[in-house]
Every structure is written in C-alpha cells, then in structure tokens.
C-alpha cells in the first residue's frame, strides 16, 4: 500500500553513556491521502522523535533502521539538498511553540513569502496574492494588514495560524503537526482544531498530528495510533480505538482522561477560612508612565474550611496572580484578605510564621519548584525546620512518612529531583506543602506539566488528602474535566475580573456568563463506550 506517508519497521536509537537508548522501535504506520492520523502517547513515548524523522531530521550519531517514504520518496537516504526541497514543498511542519519557531525580527507575511520563494516558481506579485489567500484560509482577520505585523504583535492563536499557513504554503501532501495546540488556551485550541478539519477538506492534505491529548484527537483524527516507550501499541479508526481499545495500555490511557460528564462533589457549606474582599492587584509601571490597568480587579472570593474552589480562565486572566496575592508573593494594591478571622498583611515580610505555615502554595512545574541541588530529604526537611522547629533524626523519619503519604518509597529520600519522574517530583512538592500542615493549599496548575495517566493518579491523591486532612484548596486549572471532578465551587476569571462564581454542577449545566459557556463549548469530549 502506498499512501502519502509510509513508515516501515522504523527503529531509532540514540547513543547514551550506557549504550543505546531506543526511542522508536519497529514502528510501521501509513497515512493515506487527505487523512488525519493522530499519534498519541505520553512523554518519552518517542512520538516527537518519529515526527522529526518523517521530516528527515535525524541527529548525527543516531542509529536508524527501517524506511520512511513520503509520496514514494525515501526520506532517510535522501541527500541534503533534495531533503530541503522536500521539506516545505511536499511536507509541511507545524511546531509546538510558534513563539520560538517564528523569526521575531521578520514580518509574518515575509516569513510565509520566504517559503514560497524557495519552493515555488511564483513571481513576487503572485507570492503576495498567495500569502493573502493563505492568511484568509487560516482564518486570520484583515490578512492584508495583519501580514505586515511582527510575531510579537499577534496572539498565540494567530501565531499558530501563521505557522499553519507557512506549512500549507506550497500545497504539501503531508503536514506534520507536533503538539500544535498544547500551549494555547482551550477556546483557541478548539478554533485551531476546527480550522484543521476545514483545511483538510479544502486542501486535500494529509496530517500527522502528534499530541498527548486523546480527547482532542477524538474530535479531529480519522485514525489514531498509540505509542508507548517507543513501540506502537495499537492503531485503528478513531471510534474503534476510543470505544473498543484492544490493548491494556490504551484502555488505561482512556480511563485516565477525566470525564467531563462526571458528577461534581456535593457542595459544602463550611465557615470561611480564607476570604478575599475587593482584591485588586496593579503591577507598578515605570516612572512617569501612565498607571496600567489592574491585573486583577475587585475579586471577592471565599474558601470554606474543607472546601475546594476551582479558579478557571484563560492565560493572562489573572488566576495565578490572584493566588500569589493570597499567599503574599505578590503584594495586593487594594482590598482585604481575611484568614481565620484576622486580616492578612499584603506583604510577605509582615506575615507571621503561623500564617505562612497555614497557607501553602504548590507550583505548576515541579522541575522549577524543587531545588535541583538538594536531595528529597533536604527539601522535605525545610518546612519541618522552619515551621515546626524540628531538628536531628526526626526530620528524616517525618520526611519518610510524608513520602509514604504521597505514595513514594523511603528510598526516594536520597535522590535529587532530576533522578525522579515528573509525577514523582510533583508528589514531593505536594508532600513539602503538606508537611507544613496547612489549613489552605493553593494549587497553581499543578497537573498541567504531567502526563494524563500521572494526572489521574495525582487527582486521586488530592481527593484522598482532602478527605484525610480536612483542608481548603484553591485549585487553579485550565482543564475543566479535572475541575468538575475535584471542586465544590468554580470561579471563572476573564481579563482580571471574576465573571462567574457558582457551585460546580451549576457552572457545568447552567453557565450564566457567555464566557463560561464558551469555555465549556471548547471541551473535547471523549465518546465513551456505553
């Protein structure tokens, strides 16, 4: 069978100090004309390595066996000049992060035109016309003026549309998309997915869509291929894979996706522990410049003693800023924060030890929140030393118990963060927060750096901890399915304002604000087997 893309028994191995690391092992795949194949897998599954190999990008010293054919051309043995003609002309590529992929010093129109100049026989006037046509195709408003802008003058979604236009410019037969919507907000993500479906029909182009997001693929791909640790677990029609997965790994992957239809926890009516009134945060501007609008304006938010409130909204809506003002990392400019009946000072330096202990913050990315030069034992000892004045051997035994509490073994105590997996690191960060024995935990996108199956286990961990510890949580997330599973109430933020605050079930079934409704409409549903 010859499709647009045929991969046969592809094996890619990197040299590592211990020998060879096999990133892709005996993978055979094909993509037919005009088909969208979704390649799904968790980090380290080899899906990106495979995508790069299709583009002919293989690092020096890498051992590659097997065959990749694009439209019948053998990519792996192609000499460099022919490979460069193939990229851009026959294969288009859409990167994960358009901010770094686009040249910041070049107008976006010129960047699309450059692809055409290299790979097509068009003259200057024709190129200009084609650029405008492409920009309109990818749904950019007022293409003629927008193409004169620089990348930083566009939004993330618009940048990704430009990257897609570049990939489409020379009417390729195949586009490789590597996590193209991962950094984008849910509503923008939804628009890009709709765009890709529309483009496939209009341009008759095949797509290899690489992602970790199974629900997204369910609404986009014709077929899905599942990868795990370099191997192809299974592949088949989207509906078959999602509803009747044959392999245990695929079933586990689907089970790990939180169901947005699940029932929310019953609302609680606790006395408040943390309460913000009229919380406003304005970042200082330079001297003599006009005062900027506040990043967060006039937020009223209350957390009950054992309640979990989710804070949702798109990037830049002020979710993290709000949480950081509550814990004192960012000083608020106006408003009041009450904690356990007494007011909290805006500045961290003026809060006493008990307040610092009682409000703990868990960061988004455990790679950044754990000191890479300290062992787990040292990291976990800090809250015990600082908040509870413990010394000596007790530190280690308490740290070990805390690790057990987040389902890690004692042997992890003497490891450095780099020697742990992403999920294990986030567990250590959670254990560190719990060791302070807080009354409130502020969790800032704590799941978003993790793989789905790891996310599912951390959610279970949170549910258990909440039951055991009876504490309040503010849970910042952009994943609405997770929010529905965990939170009693949901607060929706848009452009620094709280636009809706209601019980979880009400938010999901009867959203009052149009913005909430648009967020809900952007969720990709995984059609589950009955």
């Amino acid at each position: 069978m010859t499709g647009v893309l045929d991969i046969e028994a592809l094996t890619i191995a990197y040299p590592v100090p211990e020998g060879w690391h096999v990133a892709v092992e005996e993978v055979s795949l094909s993509v037919a004309k005009g088909e969208i194949l979704g390649l799904v897998g968790e980090s380290g599954s080899g899906k990106s390595t495979l995508g790069q190999a299709v583009m002919g990008h293989v690092a020096r010293g890498t051992r590659v066996t097997g065959d990749i054919r694009v439209g019948g051309t053998r990519v792996l043995t192609l000499p460099r000049p022919a490979l460069q003609r193939l990229r851009g002309a026959t294969i288009g590529f859409v990167p994960q992060n358009p901010t770094t992929a686009l040249n910041p010093a070049m107008r976006v129109g010129a960047q699309i035109a450059e692809v055409l100049r290299r790979h097509s026989p068009l003259n200057t006037a024709e190129i200009t016309a084609r650029c405008i046509e492409l920009a309109a195709d990818v749904g950019l408003p007022q293409p003629a003026t927008l193409l004169h802008r620089f990348p930083h003058q566009l939004s993330g979604g618009q940048q990704q549309r430009i990257a897609i236009a570049m990939a489409l410019a020379c009417r390729p037969s195949l586009i490789v998309l590597d996590e193209p919507t991962t950094g984008l907000d849910v509503t923008v993500q939804r628009q890009i997915v709709d765009l890709l479906i529309r483009l496939r029909a209009g341009h008759d182009v095949a797509m290899l869509y690489i992602t970790h997001d199974l629900p997204l693929l369910a609404s986009l791909a014709d077929r899905i291929a599942v990868m795990q640790r370099g191997r192809l677990v299974e592949s088949g029609a989207t509906k078959a894979i999602v509803q009747h997965p044959a392999e245990a790994y695929t079933r586990a992957l689907i089970a790990a996706v939180p169901d947005p239809e699940s029932h929310a926890p019953m609302p609680r009516h606790d006395p408040p522990v943390l309460e913000a009134r009229g919380l406003t945060i304005t970042f200082p501007s330079g001297y003599l410049r006009r005062q900027p609008p506040p990043a967060v304006a006039n937020i009223d938010l209350m957390l009950g003693e054992t309640e979990t409130v989710a804070l949702i909204g798109e990037s830049g809506s002020g979710k993290s800023t709000t949480a950081r003002a509550l814990c004192g990392l960012i000083p608020r400019s106006a408003g009041q924060v009450m904690f356990g009946g007494h007011p909290l000072s805006p500045a961290l330096a003026q809060r006493d030890g008990a307040d610092l202990r009682d409000i703990q913050y868990v960061f988004q990315n455990p790679d950044a929140s754990l000191n890479p030069r300290r062992t787990v034992a040292e990291i976990l000892a800090r809250p015990l030393q600082v908040f509870h004045g413990l010394r000596g051997p007790e530190l280690r035994s308490r740290a070990a118990r805390a690790l057990a509490g987040v389902e890690l073994a004692e042997e992890h105590l003497d490891r450095l963060p780099a020697e742990l997996s992403g999920g294990q690191r986030q567990r250590v960060a959670i254990a560190r927060a719990l060791l302070a024995e807080p009354q409130v935990m502020l969790c800032d996108e704590v799941l978003s750096a993790l793989d789905v199956s790891v996310q599912a286990r951390i959610i279970e961990l949170f549910l258990r901890i909440r039951e055991e510890r009876k504490m309040a949580m503010l849970f910042i997330s952009h994943d609405l399915a997770v929010v529905r599973r965990l939170s009693h109430r949901v607060a929706v933020m848009q452009a620094g304002r709280l636009v809706e605050l209601a019980e979880t079930e009400a938010i999901f079934t009867r959203p009052q604000h149009p913005y909430t409704a648009s967020l809900l409409a952007a969720i990709h549903h995984l059609p589950r087997a009955a």
């Binding site: 961290l348 610092l356 703990q360 913050y361 988004q364 929140s369 800090r382 908040f387 560190r432």
Partner: protein, 280 residues
C-alpha cells in the same frame, strides 16, 4: 568515561604545567643546588651556565635557587588572596542578587565605583593607605589581591544569583518566610557553584601578575624575599649584562600564569559542556 578522553586539551596542558609548578614550589627549596640566600654561591654576575641556570647576581647568589624558593610565596599569596576575594565577593554578590531592592542598588553602585578605578591604581591606593607599618607584609598583599577582586567577583556572582532567584524554589523559600541571607546560602549558592568555580580559576590566573607587579613596583614584599616580581626589579640593571637574571624569574611567572589560564579555559569549557549535557 575515562579522564583522558573527556578532558579538553587545554585542561590537560594547564594541569601539567600547574603540577610542575606545584612540585617546584613544594620541593624546589629542598632540591635547589644552593640555599636561596647563600652569598658567593658562585662568582657575582655570571651569565647562565649549567651550574647556575639563571646565572648569579651582584652578591653571587644563585638566581635559579632563589627563583625556586620564591614559588610557594607567589602561589601562596595568589591563592590566599583569590580565596579571600572570591569568598567575600561571592557572599556579597549572592546576597545582593537575592535581596534585591535598595540594598542591591547600593552594593552594586559601590562596586561600580570601585571598578571605575584601574586595578593597579586601586591596589597602590590601598598599599599607601595601609601606612608604612604594614608595607611589605604578606597579609597586606593578600588583602590587596582580595580587595581588587571583591567587586569583580561580586558582579559575576550577582548575575548568577539573579538567574536563580527567579526560580520557583526560591519563591517557595520566600513563602516559608526565609530571609535573603538564608536563601542565598541554601538555595542560590549550590546552584551558582559552577559559575563561582570558574570565577575562582579566572581570578587565580591573574593574581600572580598582580602580586608580581606590586613586587616589581616596590609595593609588594621587601627584599631579600625571593618573590619573582621583586627579583625582576632588583636585577633590572643587569638586563644588558646578565639577561637571564630578569628572564629567569619572568619565565617562572609567565609559565605559571599560562598554566593557570589554560586550566581555567579547559575548566569553563567543561562546565559549559556539562550544563549543555544536562538538557536532553
């Protein structure tokens, strides 16, 4: 991974030269053909010969023996001064970078003021301010080397600290209510160690020049100490008749500096490669 294959050539050569200098500094005084202060070890003002590789001086002392005896003085003063300078400078820089705000502003404007003075003039200023009582003292010389380096090291380590303090684990420490001093010691220092190590090597590489220059100008140690810069000054009127009297100690100083700099170059190459290797 074996040491040989993973080490850049510069590091190997640097290490070899430093090893040789180290051996000379430690064993030289014992292996020297003559005592460094033995007068009339040969006829006065003789050119280089097998018996006297660097010749003899006005008093008939063997210059090679003197140069051997001076090794540990030059190396000791340089290392001690650099250690002191890097310790004080990095403590200041890391603290300054971590605390931020007005203390940071004040400290950094202060270092800028000191950096605006050429280092030799700055060194001479300290020596003259120290007064006649301390002049010629090795402690003063160590202090001068340290004082010249403190502002330079402070700026380097502040830059390293600024890179670290933006990380979430520093925010986590601030949320525990820890102060700038604790944070700079516990969180920032371990992560700035690589930069500081290279900084130490760079500074150590120039310290012998500073020590030698001060000696040559008569602001360093006092005769008859066989410090190389001082020896070159003492013998400079022999330059036409017995050039090895000046070139000999000069050669010792030059090779030491070259060895230190090769070592540093190799070290920083390894450090940058090491950090590049950590990201997959």
């Amino acid at each position: 991974m074996s040491f040989r294959t993973s080490t850049p050539a510069a590091l190997q050569w640097g290490l070899a030269i430093l090893l040789l200098h180290g051996l000379m500094a430690v064993l030289g005084p014992f292996l020297a053909p003559y005592a460094q202060d033995q007068m009339m070890a040969g006829l006065p003002i003789q050119g280089a010969s097998l018996g006297h590789p660097f010749g003899t001086d006005q008093m008939g002392r063997d210059i090679f023996s003197r140069a051997l005896a001076g090794g540990w003085i030059v190396i000791g003063l340089s290392v001690a001064g650099t250690v002191l300078g890097v310790l004080l400078g990095s403590a200041m820089g890391l603290f300054s970078g971590t605390v931020g705000g007005w203390p940071d502003e004040v400290l950094m404007r202060l270092t800028e003021a000191f950096l605006a003075i050429p280092f030799l003039i700055f060194a001479l200023l300290i020596v003259s301010l120290a007064g006649p009582g301390l002049q010629g003292s090795p402690w003063l010389l160590i202090g001068v080397v340290a004082a010249v380096y403190v502002p330079r090291v402070a700026r380097m380590s502040r830059a390293a600290a600024l890179d670290v303090v933006a990380r979430d684990y520093v925010l986590a420490a601030r949320l525990r209510g820890e102060g700038a001093w604790t944070i700079s010691r516990r969180e920032v220092l371990p992560n700035a160690m690589g930069v500081l190590l290279v900084e130490f090597a760079v500074r150590a590489g120039y310290a012998p020049i500073l020590v030698g220059t001060l000696g040559f100008l008569g602001f360093g140690l006092k005769p008859p100490t066989p410090e190389w810069g001082l020896m070159m000054a003492e013998y400079r009127n022999l330059l036409t008749t017995q050039p090895m009297a000046v070139f000999g100690p000069g050669l010792m100083l030059a090779t030491l500096v070259v060895g230190l700099n090769l070592f540093t170059e190799g070290l920083s190459a390894m450090a940058s490669r090491g950090s590049a290797g950590r990201t997959p």
